[in-house]
């Protein structure tokens, strides 16, 4: 049956697939309403159907970690008008990049079998290291309402707006007590908002799962975690890497150029 709905597909690489699971948490009303506007044409985790038609919007979850996945990414790019990196693993490699700073991760986990070809794994990278990415849905997991907002903008021919202010703004808006005032530490001051700041409201630090705002003050980050958050210098540095090992690297490279 022909229709004018945007054709949307979901694909997955190295990830927990939790961002895809978020799509099942809308309830019937919101989800069926969404399907009034888009047609999901391929989604391996939830459907066996596949399409040979061009895809309007491809949402890709997961990091690029091995050459074997390169062609699959290139094929998706060829098939899709718009590519969205869906979740932080695809956007910056998120938590997967934690291993990038460890030279021995393969032998630690697989010992003498580490050289077996199917266990091949390079540094975890964003999918944008292989293909052009048009838009990002940040977060670990994504905020499923932010995803709706982005899709809605695209369907209306508008540019989606992703906040470029830190999570602190949302905590102030929510009247959440600052983690530093509660004797804790927090990454909210460099982390891109848009999640609604649930973690500080639930009594835990922002871990930076949505990646950094543009031009974060990375020098001050470890310093504040150490001086105001009471973390040792070692922990302050390792904390800053938690979801942002790749972003931290990039920022260090930029500061070297300066």
């Amino acid at each position: 049956m022909a229709n004018n709905k945007a054709k949307v597909a979901f694909f997955d690489f190295a990830s927990c697939e939790g961002c895809q699971i978020e799509l099942t948490n809308y309830g019937d009303k919101d989800f069926l309403e969404l399907l009034q506007h888009i047609e999901i044409v391929e989604f391996r985790e939830a459907m066996s159907e596949k399409t040979s038609d061009p895809i309007d919007i491809a949402c890709i979850e997961g990091s690029y970690t091995r050459q074997a996945d390169c062609q699959r990414l290139l094929d998706i790019r060829c098939r899709a008008k718009v590519v969205i990196s869906y979740g932080q693993c695809a956007g910056t490699a998120g938590i997967n990049a934690l291993k990038n700073h460890q030279a021995d991760y393969q032998s630690f986990v697989y010992d003498r079998d580490a050289g077996m070809p199917h266990l091949d794994s390079d540094n975890a990278k964003p999918i944008s290291s292989i293909i052009k990415v048009d838009y990002q849905v940040p977060g670990c997991p994504v905020n499923r309402y932010e995803f709706l907002d982005i899709i809605s903008h695209l369907l209306h021919g508008k540019e989606p707006v992703i906040p470029n202010y830190p999570v602190c703004v949302e905590c102030k808006r929510n009247e959440t007590i600052c983690r530093f005032l509660a004797g804790d530490h927090c990454m909210g001051m460099v982390t891109r908002a848009g999640c609604g700041a649930p973690c500080p409201a639930d009594g835990i630090p922002c871990e930076g799962c949505r990646g950094f705002v543009d031009n974060p003050n990375q020098y001050a980050l470890s310093k504040v975690l150490h001086e105001k958050g009471g973390l040792s210098l070692h922990r302050a540095e390792s904390k800053s890497l938690l979801f942002n090992a790749n972003e931290r690297d990039n920022a260090n490279k930029e500061s070297e150029i300066d």
Binding site: G18, I21, E45, A46, N96, K99, V109, P198, S238
Partner: protein, 440 residues
């Protein structure tokens, strides 16, 4: 017609409607089986290495990211193992709330699997999407039950995908009593939908293949309830013989090894393979199901001991009923005691800790070592799906000759093998395997 001379070539790369990536490869030439394999090409993610050097407050937030479907279970196994390593004993209130949370996850995942991943095969569809037109009420019910599970888990853990409030020593934020009363109302209101779920699945059970292969079934078990949050390791064989082991002995039960036929690690205990998951739980702990869940099981003629792995999906339906009725009792108990503000229990020591919970797909183990500064020096996880891989392979090897004997077509064989893998509800992203524990 006799097709014993049949050629079959099945090469399914990235099987659909399962979590993670798995392949099915079958080659039958002139009736002779040349290849019959369940393969796992999932990209490894190295969580065991990633937790090294991490403070105990951060470890569960990393390991919850092993799996998006079982992230509550990974969080709970992680904080329990960390607490064991740190000598932390949590309050009764914490323990009850975590049990309530564990049931939320089990319900959440079982709804997802039964309705979204498995039911389309039984209804002759390729996914739920065409069913929106043909079976609107069923899909609406599925989405609403899934949403209920999400609200249920979020009421306690902040959110269901990568929980926020569950931390070593207790909860960083406790639910208020009003939220728990509302949750009780929602669960009570869902009872008609539960009954409808049983009836819907009952109406399509004739599509479930009749295939039996006795194996060993392993799950948690305890003397107080249908174990999903704590207990001993328990094994039951098809003759009903049960044996219990301490959780700390998990390495000598799981015995992971590398197979020459498959890239996935295999596990074995008493036999060549064993099964974990809802059917293993039901086989071990049937007597402890709530009466309403037993009634549901009886409708499906399901009792202990069942040796048909396809019935794992039905065991999940029975658990849906059990999760709700168990949680209503837990909620009454918690509400009657009131919610008391409690500060987090502080560490008493730093050492090794091992813990286990039942995640929807089966028994899960987390194991950590901590140094004096509260930093993790090594971690090890044994994941349910890895424990099932060998059992799936041996099921394939018994099932394929039977299907050939029954003169099934290639398409029918393909569907039967796909359905078998789906029945195990594999969660392959979880496959953060280990070979050897090696703490540094």
């Amino acid at each position: 017609m006799n097709n014993t001379k049949i050629d079959v070539n099945i090469d399914i790369k990235h099987l659909t409607r399962v979590e993670g990536h798995g392949n099915i490869i079958v080659n039958v030439s002139n009736g002779k089986i040349e290849k019959c394999q369940w393969q796992v090409p999932e990209s490894p993610r190295f969580f065991e290495a990633m937790v090294r050097g991490r403070h105990y407050s951060e470890v569960a937030r990393i390991t919850s990211r092993i799996c998006g479907i079982c992230s509550i279970g990974h969080t709970l196994a992680s904080v329990k193992a960390t607490e064991a390593a740190l000598g932390i004993i949590v309050s009764e209130q914490t323990s009850k709330l975590r049990q309530l949370l564990k049931h939320a996850e089990n319900f959440d995942s079982n709804v997802l699997h039964v309705y979204i991943l498995a039911a389309p095969d039984l209804l002759g569809a390729k996914s739920v999407f065409p069913l929106i037109q043909t079976h609107t009420d069923i899909i609406r019910r599925a989405l609403n039950l899934k949403r209920l599970a999400h609200e249920w888990g979020s009421a306690i853990a902040g959110r269901t995908t990568h929980p926020t409030t569950v931390v070593p020593g207790g909860f960083s934020k406790l639910p208020d009593i009003q939220a728990l009363k509302e949750l009780k109302q929602k669960l009570t209101a869902a009872i008609p939908d539960l009954a409808a779920t049983v009836e819907t699945i009952l109406s399509i059970t004739d599509q479930i293949p009749d295939f039996n292969r006795p194996t060993e079934y392993i799950s948690l078990s305890n003397d107080n309830n249908y174990a999903i949050y704590d207990g001993h390791i328990q094994s039951i064989l098809s003759d009903g013989y049960k044996q219990r082991y301490p959780v700390a002995d998990y390495l000598s039960i799981t015995n992971e090894y590398v197979s020459q036929w498959s890239t996935a690690k295999y596990c074995k205990n008493k036999l060549d393979s064993y099964m974990v998951g809802a059917l293993a739980r039901l086989n071990n702990n049937y007597a402890q199901l709530k009466p309403q869940a037993k009634l549901a099981a009886e409708k499906f003629n399901l009792s202990s001991l069942c040796t048909n792995p396809y019935m794992n999906t039905i065991a999940q339906v029975v658990e849906l009923v059990n999760d709700v009725y168990t949680s209503l009792e837990l909620l009454d108990d918690i509400i009657s005691h009131g919610i008391h503000h409690e500060i987090l229990v502080e560490p008493e020591k730093y050492g090794q800790g091992i813990a286990s919970v039942e995640v929807p797909r089966g028994i899960l183990f987390h194991d950590y070592q901590y140094t004096e500064d509260g930093l993790c020096s090594g971690g090890n996880f044994v994941i349910p799906t890895n424990q099932n891989h060998a059992n799936i392979q041996y099921d394939f090897e018994k099932l394929l000759p039977e299907l050939l004997e029954q003169n099934k077509t290639e398409a029918e064989i393909e569907l039967a093998l796909e359905m078998l893998v789906r029945a195990y509800d594999p969660c392959i992203s979880c496959s953060a395997h280990y070979l050897k524990v090696k703490f540094v």
